[in-house]
Symmetry: D2
Subunit: 339 residues, 4 copies
């Protein structure tokens, strides 16, 4: 047994995404340790601190004063992102912020200012960019294997109704914000282009019980858009999707077509009379992007320790936010929205 130096990372908000990061830093990142967790829910703090053998914090100020904490992951609900990021920046902590960045451009602006002023590393939580298949896809496109991209279609669906606070689209930016921010970012990243305009429709097709109280709520959405490189594109989102998690992209190029992702888990096929030839569906972003989250978390440490530039930036988060809000505006007005 020997002693080695490791970075201390705290996780702010230990819901589903927060727990992915917390477990990574507790068990899978050799160069770091989980140094603390904070959540608005005190029972949750106690349970997680106990389970993962780390320190639990009931208020964020105490946590940020802990000098053994070098970095924080912001995984609280979106409406809490701005305050947490601004406070963490002020405390000179390196920051990984889950998507979506924020609810409004004003919040995003405040976060940008705080981070810039503090000079701390900021990693935007677009984990798909760290996924091996997404990276290989970007290489294949850049290499010209499918020629010039002409049409891109991105599908993002997940099981489970969003949290209650997210049902009010005016506050939360809705499913397009909470789920499809990833699609908006991936399309930009793969195309290496900006959005020119969007046209979107969202409908509440499955959640009858929310219609009265949340008339704007939609559980299914289609977004059409054009990129500045001339590409046309489409994003469809569906949440909850009963069958599992679904993240696929299809890119029509002038010389071929590229498909990223598969709805089925890989490596096992069972054939029986009653079920036919069946593979398990991808059940969660947690399993599909497990390695990507780990790489993202290690990238945070790398940015902090080695001073490398973040691969996913606050600016990336702002771009996605802008397009999401434009799409929501299109849903409300029924018109094309320029960006």
């Amino acid at each position: 047994m020997r002693k080695v130096d490791v970075v201390g990372v705290a996780v702010l908000g230990v819901g589903r995404a927060g727990m992915v990061h917390a477990r990574n830093f507790a068990e899978h990142v050799p160069e770091a340790r989980l140094a603390g967790v904070y959540d608005a829910d005190r029972e949750r703090v106690d349970a997680v601190a106990s389970e993962l053998g780390t320190k639990g914090y009931y208020n964020i100020e105490d946590l940020l004063q802990d000098a053994s904490i070098d970095a924080v992951v912001v995984a609280a609900p979106t409406f809490a992102h701005k305050d947490l990021v601004v406070a963490a920046a002020a405390a000179k902590k390196a920051i990984l912020c889950e998507k979506p960045l924020a609810l409004t451009p004003d919040e995003a602006e405040a976060m940008q200012e705080a981070v810039t002023a503090a000079g701390v590393p900021f990693v935007m939580g677009f984990m798909r960019r760290y996924d091996e298949n997404f990276r290989r896809a970007k290489e294949i496109i850049a290499r010209g294997d499918i020629g010039r991209p002409l049409i891109i279609k991105s599908t993002g669906k997940g099981p489970g109704l969003p949290s209650r606070w997210a049902w009010d689209v005016k506050k939360s930016n809705g499913v397009l914000g909470e789920v499809n921010s990833h699609d908006f970012d991936s399309v930009h990243w793969l195309m290496e282009a900006e959005y020119a305009w969007v046209f979107a429709r969202g409908k509440n097709l499955r959640s009858e019980e929310l219609k009265e109280e949340f008339p704007d709520f939609y559980d299914n959405a289609l977004v059409m858009f054009e990129m500045t490189n001339g590409c046309l594109g489409m994003i469809d989102g569906s949440c909850p999707s009963e069958y599992g998690y679904d993240a696929r992209i299809e890119i029509q190029g002038s010389e071929g077509v590229l498909f990223i992702g598969d709805i089925a888990r890989h490596g096992l096929t069972v054939c029986t009379r009653s079920k036919g030839v069946a593979k398990d569906v991808v059940d969660s972003w947690r399993s599909l992007f497990r390695d990507a989250y780990l790489k993202e978390d290690r990238h945070l440490v790398e940015c902090l320790v080695k001073g490398v530039q973040p691969q996913t930036t606050l600016q990336d988060g702002r771009r996605a936010l802008k397009v999401v809000r434009a799409a929501n505006q299109s849903i409300i007005t029924g018109k094309v929205v320029s960006i």
Copy 2:
């Protein structure tokens, strides 16, 4: 050897689609024989008549006066459909008309009147409805396996630039008419609903050389729409697509998701270091829908001989035409078009 009675079928227009029908009646439909071919190109008439051992006609009147011809397949360019169908109806021939039905609502109206007046069977050439996978998909949806349909996406792409006459979108209805009529019909048929509105964009992304003379020409198009059952949907078309023929539909339901079609041919996989794990791409609608065309052609005979009602009607052709034109109008105006 014995003699059996068979129906005489002539094919009007023996280009690519016409040849599929001509070969079917010459070689694959036991209850019929190929009784003649007509084409505006006289050399083509001679070549095909010789190849398939049938009678060639240089003008349509002669053909329609041949009493041994019981039915005709109209497979000429779209702009010729109306005159051919009206003449064939007047001559009391049963009719199978290739898609798209016509170029304008007026033409379609005239065709409807002629067919109704003549009382002849009319089969609209939406062969996908005769395809086994499309039929099974419709059954699966009707059975409720994927719950209530929420979002439908249909992809229709084909290799080969359209014929010159089709470059002028005002005359031809463009790629959406010539290629994606199938998608518009399939979506309607699978959803058992009508179109409420469409929003579309078409762009000339690959055919630089056509831009000056045909400024409206588009080789790639995206169409978003809503159905009267509340479903949202999307159609993407690309023609020419370099890699092959691509007809796929994805239907998101409240309980699951259904995929029709595959870009790869079935049944053979070759793995080598240089090509990886590869299947042949579906190269043509001729191979993908071979059985569907044969069933469609036999259905024509069945309608004629047994008096059964056509499964694909002139009205189906009119519906698709209406939506295609609305989508083209949306491309031109940049606005949502109600239907």
Copy 3:
């Protein structure tokens, strides 16, 4: 309506395979008609004759005297093949004989003599050779895409216990004869080589109730072999297989590997929480090889009318019989059997 000349074909034995041929000639082969059916079961004769609108025969002599019958398909149980083929040859009918050819080398010898003496066309019912995927596979191998073949593995499984008469392996040659004759033939055809030796094991793993009366019966078998071109190979058979019909071949070459066939039906995928990502299993050789049977049946007519040489010969049937019997001998003796 016109009259055209068609060949008269009778089907001898209208069980499962016989009905495939009978329906083909009744409905799908333009150049032929179903001219009669015979079966040892008189009720079956009446039912099929009525269903397919053809003449039923209670004894074979009457059928063979019908001059309007030009060809016969022998699809009776294997033990009846020899007598039927010899009689049909004597009556100068063209013959398509279902696999396996016969039960013993002596029977096969007698059939060969009768056919040779009569000079009638004889098509051996190895329908896989007429299947598009098998043909493309043979071309790919011949073209050298996977280099020199090194190892070949062929899987042949089918649902449904064999008929009672087939339970006595000494009489029937067992599952290897009734089911895996196809595999033995395909391997020979694809490799373009003969069998050098076989080593086989068969076990009754599922049919406890047959063990006492039929101690030799096996429902699962593995056969290892070497070809004269140096290739090693393996065939596995399982009948009944509960889940469906399964015919796949895998060929390891010096430069790559080739897979023929797939356990799943093509073109539709349904994803739901309860079943995962599922395709229908191939349920029967009737659906998988529908086109192959049709081509085989048309080939019979072609051999008769145009005098082309059969692509699958009586000699092919004898070769497969020889290897099947050697494999059964290996199962009994536990030893390698040279061929």
Copy 4:
């Protein structure tokens, strides 16, 4: 930054497999650190020590005297396993030994005695047992989803000619030992049964240049066997296989069939005219079993620190060795070998 206690692990033999372990302990196992490397090749020692920032040892005795080294991974050529394991055990180091365990039963016996005497944890390097798909497959079988296993087929192929020392089968146990040890272990583990007999053939089909000097060398092998639970089975091995790494298992059960593994990498499909619909082939066991190796390495630490029982044991290694040698004996004698 804080200091945490970590286990010191040294890797003995830093060829291909050794480097997988070395990198894991250097970069991916939070609870351990790479504490040293040894190799018979001194230049290799220097290069790896430099690259991974660890201590290099030219002789094994020095390494084993280093008290900061708590465990060793034995990844040297098979002929060196016995001496290294015996020495490491004597030095009270925990041991992970790569497959195959040893060359002879005598060596295995000596290793067993040394490990038992020392009382150190010993993890046998059958990493497939730590792979998620293999584990899920075992659960699916145990749950009865495919009924009772009847036939099992395991394919193990890899690119790259084995090292020169392995060309003499008498010394190395050949490809069956070096490559297919994994298959022999997986079959035993999944079936939960022992081998009753084996029958095998191996042929030199690709390595003409080795025939004179190494007449026993085979690059392709087929093994047939029966398990004590009545199952029949087959293993095919091919090395080098030009196209990539191939590890697949197919299990025919009384109620269904299960497939483990896929020759293609998951998650990306590219379709172009020249290559068709293509996925990358799995290029190496390093990528396919990356997670499995990591879990195996963490399991070693867990056995050492927490005292849990190894999931893969020296006894597992001995069983595989026994069957491999029986199969080689069958290749030489041409006869079935009982076990």
